[in-house]
């Protein structure tokens, strides 16, 4: 048993976001600065006090421009996490490590993009030049055969889940129905006031079989920032401290970038299993302690696999766990109470961390009673990350 030594020593003290839209009408840099400034304001911290930044390698807004825009005179920590949507919880982990080791005092984690009005991820990689670096050459095994989009990569796993576990398209649809139910009551969500039924899901067009349109997250414009400092400093700020009870990154077992088709089994998410083991060991908690979770939902099938990897149910039993509203408000484990990336917005999982913070603070629009420990996860099918957030007592 190993415990990460920064556990409960660092806290999230501020969250800030832009509106979520399909066309922001401003630059990605402006979105990032608006989100960062909002997170500082939420915490009651002057932006100039920030001396650390952490973001994604995919982020287009470099640290020096954030620094200039926020009026920061000196940065002592700036780190980036690779592998796309797997990064969000790891930015917070790096921030926690930086503030608890004295490398930095306040670290802003940020992600901002015009992912709908600018470069759309859903169009895939077909127009990428075929470079031959080790990273680029990984696409040689899929792109020439027409597997070009995240949806097409995830669909390969989904077919196998259906084959081995008897999961159905309707089971995937139940995840979408839950997300959209929660988004419907969240004014910040793109799909506010627009719940769907399982019939809507089944009737939506194919993107890549077995995935319907409504199995796929939105493409969104927007920015989200998270401010981290030590638990000690946090107690002097305006918001109640939200402790980082555990944080983890994970890669496992013949890992590929969202195309781990060559490992023995395709029905689990071993990299998320690596995160789960660290989260439970470090936090000392168990699934029974968790009343709500934010599970990365770029595509519905992997929400089921995450429930299994974290031990909320046995392998192959997630379809039963989510039946009868199991992951809806009022169910056994409400998931993605902000509406998730299918319902609120796709901000590469960073908006999910903000919802975890609101649940711990008790300020979610879909508040779950007794949410003292909230699990948040990063992207699935990729090298990933996870967080356990908790109340400070």
């Amino acid at each position: 048993m190993s415990r990460h030594t920064y556990a409960r020593q660092a806290a999230i003290v501020g969250i800030g976001a832009t509106e979520f839209s399909k066309n922001s009408g401003r630059s990605e840099l402006q979105l990032a600065l608006e989100a960062c400034a909002a997170a500082c304001a939420d915490a009651g911290v002057e932006p100039s006090q920030v001396n650390g930044l952490s973001t994604f390698t995919m982020e287009t807004n470099p640290e020096n421009e954030i620094m200039r825009g926020l009026g920061i005179s000196e940065l002592t920590h700036f780190s980036r996490i690779h592998f796309g949507g797997g990064a969000p919880c790891a930015t917070v982990q790096y921030a926690a490590m930086a503030v608890t080791t004295g490398v930095a005092d306040y670290v802003l984690c940020y992600r901002a993009f015009n992912e709908r009005s600018g470069r759309r991820f859903g169009t895939g990689v077909q127009d990428r030049p075929a470079g031959a670096t080790a990273e680029e050459a990984q696409f040689a095994w899929t792109s020439p055969h027409g597997l070009l989009t995240p949806a097409s990569w995830v669909a390969m796993f989904a077919t196998r889940m259906m084959h081995e576990y008897g999961v159905s398209s309707e089971d995937f649809g139940r995840v979408a129905v839950a997300d959209r139910k929660h988004a419907a009551t969240n004014p910040a969500a793109h799909f506010y006031g627009q719940p769907i039924t399982l019939e809507d899901h089944q009737a939506s067009r194919w993107i890549v079989e077995p995935l319907h349109l409504l199995d796929c997250c939105q493409e969104s414009d927007g920015g989200q920032a998270i401010l981290v400092t030590t638990a000690e400093r946090a107690r002097d700020l305006v918001q109640p401290a939200v402790l980082i009870e555990a944080a983890a990154q994970g890669m496992a077992d013949d890992q590929q970038m969202m195309r781990s088709f060559f490992r023995d089994s395709l029905v689990g998410l071993p990299e998320m299993g690596t995160c789960a083991r660290q989260i439970w060991e470090t936090s000392g908690l168990s699934p029974a302690d968790v009343k709500t979770a934010v599970l990365y939902d770029h595509f519905t099938p992997f929400v089921l696999a995450q429930l299994e990897e974290f031990g909320f149910c046995q392998p192959g039993e997630a379809k039963d766990f989510i039946a009868d509203g199991g992951i809806e408000l009022g169910g056994r484990l409400p998931v993605n109470t902000h509406g998730g990336q299918l319902g609120e917005a796709y901000i590469h999982g960073m908006n999910g961390i903000a919802e975890g913070v609101r649940q711990v603070r008790g300020t979610s629009v879909n508040q779950v009673a007794g949410a003292e420990h909230v699990l948040v996860t990063g992207g699935t099918g990729v090298p990933t990350s996870a967080l356990m957030l908790g109340v400070d007592r």
């Binding site: 077909q126 031959a132 670096t133 696409f139 077919t159 084959h163």
Partner: protein
């Protein structure tokens, strides 16, 4: 001439009989063997003296689908090849067809063909037939164009007047480019150009080049550590098991099973046809001369199979696609396009014993058979069935006659259908009838996929009816039945 006048003139011939047409050569072993080569039919009762002697036939027989090929007049009957002084054929169908061609109906396709077999032909049988014109239709508006259906029946006998079988045959003579073009559905975007060279290019580098070089040679190479002989995928410069940097490859058989798959609908990009079936194929392990390592899987698109025919676990075999202008480590490779693997359903095995009727289940499905159809298949089939119509071998003339390419002739389609069913039931299944309706033309490069099921079984008499359909991307090519007799 007005359409109704033409019909009246043509219908005057209905009921008329042609002259007796006698074959120039008897049924013979070399021609049977050529037919078997063209169709790929390995049934030993057609070519193996010893096996045929032991069979219920007591000796070599001709494939039943060849009934109507033996007395064909061959190349000299084609208009451009007819020697001066040789009168055009006088049978009623030829007469009607000439009249229709004069009126602009120059396109021709076969529509129905029904062969009824009274007895199998044997080498030495000299055949003759007499044709009766059964019907000429009103002018019809078909998908191919405005045209007339012409129906004939031919009775086949030996020259000693022993009845051996009958053929009912219906053709459509049509005016090219007068068909009803399918209107695109509202909101449909034009399909992207499917040329394989437009596919996204693989990044080829020093670590993976050996595999792509192998693909070019149609070798399905799998990375192999030269230290511990382990095979793995994708390639890597160092063996994770033994630490060796000595990397080579093993060659896989090209057979595999489908581990998972997807059907891509959106977005649609150049280089592919949609909906696109992409498989995750678990390869039959190569002979490594050492430990195997875990199962090796590769991703490849599937050909010759519709999305609704794909099943996890289905057996597959490799196909090859010349695809991209090549670059290695970013530099142009002068060796021409690279090649990538595709997979098609594994060719079903030919059954060596013959099933008894009581062992068959009603509704039992035949395995999928996907035939990668090339121009050679089409030309070899036409010649082996002694069909010299230009649309089956001359692309330029096929274009002139309104066809996008040469296409498979009916006798070859029937030959494939017969092979498909007898490969499934066994070499001594006796075919009594082959009945088909023809649909979409079978053009080269469109894989032709056969499906079938047992429609009825009479366990008393051993009579079996098998329904068969062969389809390509354009739709069903033939739909019909094979009637057979088995031991009960």
């Amino acid at each position: 001439m007005a359409a109704d006048e033409l019909v009246a003139e043509l219908r005057a011939f209905v009921g008329s009989e042609g002259p007796v047409q006698t074959a120039r050569h008897p049924v013979n072993g070399p021609a049977i063997a050529d037919w078997c080569d063209a169709i790929g039919d390995g049934n030993p009762v057609y070519t193996d003296e010893e096996a045929a002697a032991k069979s219920r036939h007591g000796g070599i027989v001709a494939p039943p689908a060849t009934l109507d090929i033996w007395d064909r007049p061959g190349l000299p009957a084609q208009p451009r090849w007819r020697p001066a002084g040789l009168a055009p054929a006088e049978d009623p169908r030829s007469h009607v067809m000439r009249k229709l061609e004069d009126a602009g109906f120059i396109g021709v396709v076969a529509v129905n063909s029904e062969l009824e077999i009274a007895r199998y032909l044997r080498p030495g049988d000299l055949l003759q037939n007499k044709q009766v014109l059964e019907d000429v239709s009103e002018e019809k508006h078909t998908a191919l164009g405005v045209g007339h259906f012409v129906t004939t029946r031919q009775r086949y006998e030996t020259v000693d007047r022993e009845h051996v079988g009958d053929l009912l045959f219906r053709i459509l003579k049509f005016k090219p480019n007068t068909g009803k073009a399918a209107a695109p559905a509202e909101g449909d975007r034009p399909a992207p150009d499917p040329s394989p060279s437009l596919r996204p290019r693989p990044g080829i580098n020093r670590d993976n080049q050996a595999l792509f070089d192998g693909y070019r040679l149609h070798e399905l190479r799998v990375p192999q550590c030269q230290g511990c002989r382990r095979v793995f995928f994708p390639p890597a410069p160092r063996c994770a098991a033994c630490g060796s940097f000595e990397m080579g490859y093993a060659v896989a058989s090209g057979r595999g099973t489908l581990h998972s798959f997807t059907v891509v609908h959106h977005p649609q990009v150049p280089g592919f046809r949609y909906p696109l079936v992409v498989g995750l194929v678990e390869l039959e392990p190569p002979d490594t001369g050492g430990p195997g390592g875990s199962a090796v899987r590769i991703v490849a698109d599937l050909v010759g199979v519709r999305p609704d025919q794909v099943e996890v676990g289905m057996p597959l075999e490799v196909d090859w696609l010349d695809s991209h202008p090549a670059q290695v480590d970013g530099a142009t490779d002068s060796r021409g396009p690279i090649t990538v693997p595709q997979f098609r359903p594994a060719t079903p095995r030919r059954r060596e014993d013959t099933v008894v009727a009581s062992a068959l289940r009603d509704g039992e499905r035949l395995p999928l058979w996907t035939l990668p159809l090339s121009p050679t298949h089409i030309v070899a089939g036409a010649l082996a069935t002694r069909d010299f119509q230009d649309v089956h071998h001359d692309r330029d003339l096929a274009h002139q006659k309104g066809s996008q390419d040469i296409f498979l002739n009916i006798n070859t389609s029937l030959g494939y259908m017969e092979r498909y069913v007898t490969d499934f039931l066994g070499p001594e299944a006796v075919v009594s009838a082959l009945r088909v309706r023809l649909g979409a033309p079978a053009y080269p490069y469109l894989p032709l996929t056969f499906t079938g099921s047992v429609q009825s079984v009479d366990r008393e008499t051993g009579r079996v009816v098998v329904g068969v359909q062969a389809s390509n991307d354009l739709g069903p090519h033939i739909t019909g039945t094979v009637e057979l007799e088995l031991q009960p």
